[in-house]
Amino acid sequence: MKLIYLHIKYFTKRILFLILLLLLFSLFFILNKQGFKLFDVFVPNPYFQIFGRMPNMIYYPTVASIIFLILTIFEILFSYLYSEYSINVIKKKKQINKQINESIFEYLTKKSTASDDRKYAQNLNKILKTDYAKLILLSKLRRISLLTTNEVKLHCTSIINELNYNKLLRLYLKSPLTEDNLLALRLVGDLKLTEFSPEIETLFKSKNSTLKTEALNTYLKTNPETDLSFLDLHANSLSLLDFNNIINITAHYKKINYTKLIESRTQFLSALGLRLIIFNNPENYKQLIIKLLDSEYNWVREEAFLTFLELKKNDSDFDILTYKFERFPNSLKIRAIDKVTNFSDKTSVNKFLNWLIENNSIEIKFLAMKKIFEYDMSLILKYKGHENSDVRKTYNQLIDYNI
C-alpha cells in the first residue's frame, strides 16, 4: 500500500499539471463556439458574444494572453505556497530533530536494561508518525553507536534492532523518488544490513549516476569480505568520486586482492590498488610499486610515487627517488619533502634534501631548506655562502621568514 502511495505522490503533481494545461489549452477550441456538450448536456458559452466574431488573427493571441495570465496567477499562488511550505518543512524538521535528540539523550543517559530498550522502541514507534522521522531516528542512533563505546553503544544497537525498520527501508529502496532511495541506501550502508542485496543490485544498475554511486558505497559497506574483483566489470563507468568513496570504505578491509588490482590493465583499478596498499603493508609490494613508477598511465605513475613515498626507504631508494623526481608535478614533489622522515636514517634524509636544494626550483629549495631547519638549524648554515646564488637567496628568505 505504502509503495502505491509513494507512486501516487510521485505522479500526482505531474498529472494535475497536465490536466491544468489541457483545460487551458481547450479554451482555444471552446471560447469561439456557442457552447459544448458535456455528458449529453449542452453547456452554453457566455463569452461567445466577445470571442465568436473575432478573426483568427485576433482570437488566438487573445486566448493565449488569457491563458498566460491565468498561468501567471497560478505561478504567483504557487510561489507563495511553495515558499511557505519550505519554511514550514524546515521548521518541522528542526522540531523533529530536536524532539528526537532530546528523547535519545534523555534515554541513553540513564541506566536501562534490554527490556527497557524494547519498551522505548515501542514508545518511539507510537510517537513518530512520519517515515521521515523514523529514518532520522535510525540515522541518529547509528551515528551515536559509532561515536560511543560500551553500554551506550550496546543500547543503541539494541534499540535499532527493536525498531525493526527493515520493511520501511525496503519500501524506500523501491520508491520512485530518488531522495528516498538515497536516504535508504545510506542507512542500509551505515547499519550494514545485508538482507537488501537484491535492491542494492537493482539500484547499482540504475542509469542515475548518483544512485549508482550510492548503491556501490552501500554494497561495499555491507560486504567487508569483498576482494573488489567485481569492479573489473564496472571500472570503465566509475569516476573519481567512486575512487575516493571506495578508498574511504575499504581502506582496512582484509580480503582485498591487491596484486590483482595493482597489476590490472585498467588504470582506475591499478591506481586504486596502489592507493589502498598504503593502509595495508605496502612494504610487501615494494618491487611492484617501483615498477609502476614507469607506468604508461600518468595517474598510475603518480599513485605509485605517492605510495613509494610511504615506504620505509633506505639509501638505495634515494637513487630511484631522485632519478624519477623530475617527471612528477610540483604538488607531489612537495609531498616528497614532507615524507622524508620515511628514510631509515638521517644521512639519507640530509642527502635527499641537499639534492633538492642543489637541483630544483626556488620553491622546492625553500621547502627542503625549511625541513632541514626544522630538525637541525645548524645544518643550513652551509648554504649561507653557497656558490649558487639561488641557494643563497633561498637561505636569506628562509631566515627572513622564520626569524
Binding site: M57, I58, P61, T62, A64, S65, I66, F68, L69, L71, T72, E75, I76, F78, S79, Y80, Y82, S83, S86, I87, T178, E179, L182, L183, N208, S209, T210, N236, S237, L238, S239, L240, L241, F243, N244, I247, N248, R275, P329, N330, S331, S361, I362, E363, K393, T394, Q397, D400, Y401
Partner: protein, 476 residues
C-alpha cells in the same frame, strides 16, 4: 513586387523570428526544470563535507584580481580564508592599485616579499613582487603586486603563479559561501568518460542583504529599483537560461565573477584574452574550441545553480549602462574572433546550436527588436496595421513576458527559496510589469549603444569606472 508583398514578407520574417524566440523560451524553461530537478535529486542531501576526507581531490587556486579595494580588501580576503577545502591557495593580484590596497594587506597579514620565480607562461604586465605571510595561519595566501593591466591580465598572472589543478576566478568583492568550492569541484569528480573543463556558478544580488562577518546572513529583496530589476533578470538568466544550456552541454559562458576552470586547459589556450572586455565569455568559447579542434575529446562545461556567490549589482543608470555596454561589446568581440564556429558541424552542438543562438538571439535580438518596434509603430501610424491588432500582439507579448519572469520566481521559491514573504511577491510582480515597459527597452538601448560603439564609435576600450558602494559588513 508591390508594397503590400514587401510588407507581407517583412511581416513573415518578424513573425518567424518572434516564434523562434518564443519557442526557445518555452524549451529553455522546460529543460531548466529537468536539469534543476536532476541537480537537486543528486545533491540536495549530499554531505559535501565528506569531500574533505577524500584522498584524491583536485587542488584549487582562488584567484582574485584587486584594483583600488582599500576599503574592503581585508574583509574580502578574510571571507576567502573561511572557505572550506582540503588543498587550496588564495592568490590576490593587486593590479596596480592607485590607493593603499597593497600597504593595508601587507600590514594586516604580515607579508614579506619572497623570491619565488614567476613563470611567465602567459605573457603579462610586469610583476613587481610576490608576497607571503610570516604568520603560519596564512600559509596559503599569496599576494602579487603588478603593473596595471586589467582584469584579464591579473587573472593570467594568477594562472601563471598557480600550481594547482583548478583555478577559481572571482571578483575580490564577491561574497563566497564557505562550501562554494566543494560544490563547484564535485562535478569534476563525477564524470567517468567526459572531462569537465569548467564549472560556473550562480551570481546572486547582494544589495540590501544583511552581511555579517563576510557572510550573507539574511537575504532581502533590494530596495533600489535597478537592483530589483536585476534580481529578476538574474533569475531568468542563471536559474533558467544557463541550466538549460548546461543540460545539453551547450553552455558558452561562465560568469567572470565566479567560475572554476581546469588550469591545464586554460594554460593550453593561452589564458584570458586581454584584448577583449568580455574575457569570461571568450575564454570559455576558446577552451571549447580547443577541446574540439585540438584535443578532440569529449568535454563538458557544467553549471551549479546553488546560490554560492553574492555580488553588488549596479544601482544607478550610468553604471548599469556602462556594464551592459561592456557586456555587449565583449559578446561581439567574441563572436567576431570565433566566427569560424558559426554553423560549423566540426564543433558539434556548440557550433550548430549554441553559437548561432548567441549570434541570432543574444547579439542581434535587441537590434531586431528595436527595428521591429519601429516597424510596428510605422505600420500603426500609416494604418497598415490596425490598432486592435497592435493591442492584441502587445497583450500577447506582455502576458508571456510576465509569465516567463514569474516562472523564474516560482522556480526560485521551489528550489532555494532565498526570498520570502507576500511583500516580496507583490514587489516582484510590479517589477515584472515595469521590466517589460521600462527596463527591457533600456537594455535594448544599452545593447544598441554597445553595437554602435564597437562598429562606429572608434571601439570603446576598457571597463570604464565601476564604482561600488561595498557591503555594510557587520561583525559579531
Amino acid at each position: 513586387m508591390d508594397s503590400y508583398s514587401i510588407i507581407d514578407i517583412i511581416n513573415r520574417i518578424f513573425f518567424l523570428y518572434a516564434c523562434i524566440i518564443f519557442l526557445s523560451y518555452v524549451v529553455v524553461a522546460f529543460m531548466s526544470v529537468l536539469e534543476l530537478r536532476k541537480y537537486l535529486n543528486k545533491n540536495r542531501n549530499f554531505d559535501y563535507t565528506t569531500l574533505l576526507g577524500f584522498h584524491k581531490l583536485p587542488s584549487v587556486s582562488i584567484i582574485a584580481p584587486a584594483y583600488n579595494e582599500e576599503k574592503t580588501i581585508i574583509e574580502n580576503i578574510k571571507c576567502l580564508l573561511n572557505i572550506k577545502y582540503q588543498d587550496f591557495e588564495i592568490i590576490i593580484v593587486n593590479d596596480g592599485s592607485k590607493d593603499n590596497s597593497l600597504e593595508i594587506i601587507k600590514e594586516y597579514f604580515n607579508l614579506i616579499k619572497v623570491d619565488l620565480i614567476y613563470p611567465d607562461t602567459i605573457p603579462t604586465k610586469l610583476v613587481r613582487g610576490i608576497y607571503k605571510s610570516t604568520n603560519t595561519s596564512y600559509t596559503h595566501l599569496t599576494i602579487v603586486d603588478k603593473e596595471n593591466g586589467g582584469k584579464a591580465d591579473a587573472l593570467n598572472v594568477g594562472i601563471n603563479l598557480s600550481q594547482k589543478d583548478l583555478f577559481l576566478a572571482i571578483d575580490v568583492d564577491c561574497i563566497i559561501e564557505p562550501d562554494a568550492v566543494l560544490k563547484m569541484v564535485k562535478p569534476f569528480l563525477e564524470e567517468s568518460h567526459t572531462e569537465v573543463i569548467a564549472s560556473g556558478g550562480v551570481i546572486r544580488v547582494a544589495n540590501s542583504c544583511e552581511i555579517v562577518n563576510g557572510r550573507v546572513e539574511k537575504v532581502h529583496f533590494p530596495k533600489n529599483i535597478w537592483a530589483r530589476f536585476q534580481v529578476l533578470e538574474y533569475f531568468r538568466a542563471f536559474t533558467l537560461g544557463r541550466m538549460a544550456w548546461a543540460r545539453i552541454n551547450g553552455l558558452l559562458i561562465i560568469s567572470g565573477a565566479f567560475g572554476l576552470f581546469s588550469r591545464k586547459r586554460a594554460l593550453a589556450v593561452g589564458g584570458y584574452d586581454t584584448n577583449t572586455v568580455g574575457e569570461d565569455l571568450e575564454l570559455v568559447v576558446r577552451m571549447r574550441r580547443y577541446m574540439h579542434e585540438v584535443e578532440k575529446k569529449k568535454h563538458k562545461v557544467v553549471f551549479i545553480p546553488d546560490p554560492l556567490c553574492w555580488t553588488e549589482v549596479p544601482e544607478s543608470f550610468s553604471i548599469l549602462s556602462r556594464q551592459r555596454n561592456r557586456w555587449t561589446r565583449g559578446g561581439i568581440e567574441t563572436i567576431q574572433k570565433h566566427k569560424k564556429m558559426f554553423m560549423s558541424p566540426e564543433f558539434g552542438l556548440i557550433g550548430m546550436v549554441s553559437f548561432p543562438y548567441w549570434v541570432l538571439f543574444e547579439w542581434l535580438a535587441p537590434i531586431i527588436e528595436i527595428i521591429g518596434i519601429g516597424y510596428v509603430i510605422f505600420m500603426v501610424i500609416f494604418n497598415i496595421l490596425s490598432f486592435k491588432m497592435f493591442i492584441t500582439m502587445f497583450a500577447f507579448v506582455f502576458s508571456f513576458a510576465i509569465l516567463y519572469s514569474f516562472f523564474a520566481v516560482l522556480y526560485e521559491a521551489y528550489t532555494f527559496n532565498k526570498y520570502q514573504g507576500v511583500s516580496y511577491l507583490f514587489n516582484a510582480f510590479i517589477i515584472a510589469i515595469l521590466e517589460i515597459l521600462f527596463y527591457q527597452p533600456l537594455n535594448m538601448f544599452f545593447s544598441l549603444s554597445g553595437n554602435i560603439d564597437i562598429f562606429f564609435g572608434g571601439k570603446k576600450k576598457g571597463w570604464g569606472e565601476m564604482t561600488r558602494k561595498g557591503f555594510s559588513n557587520k561583525s559579531t
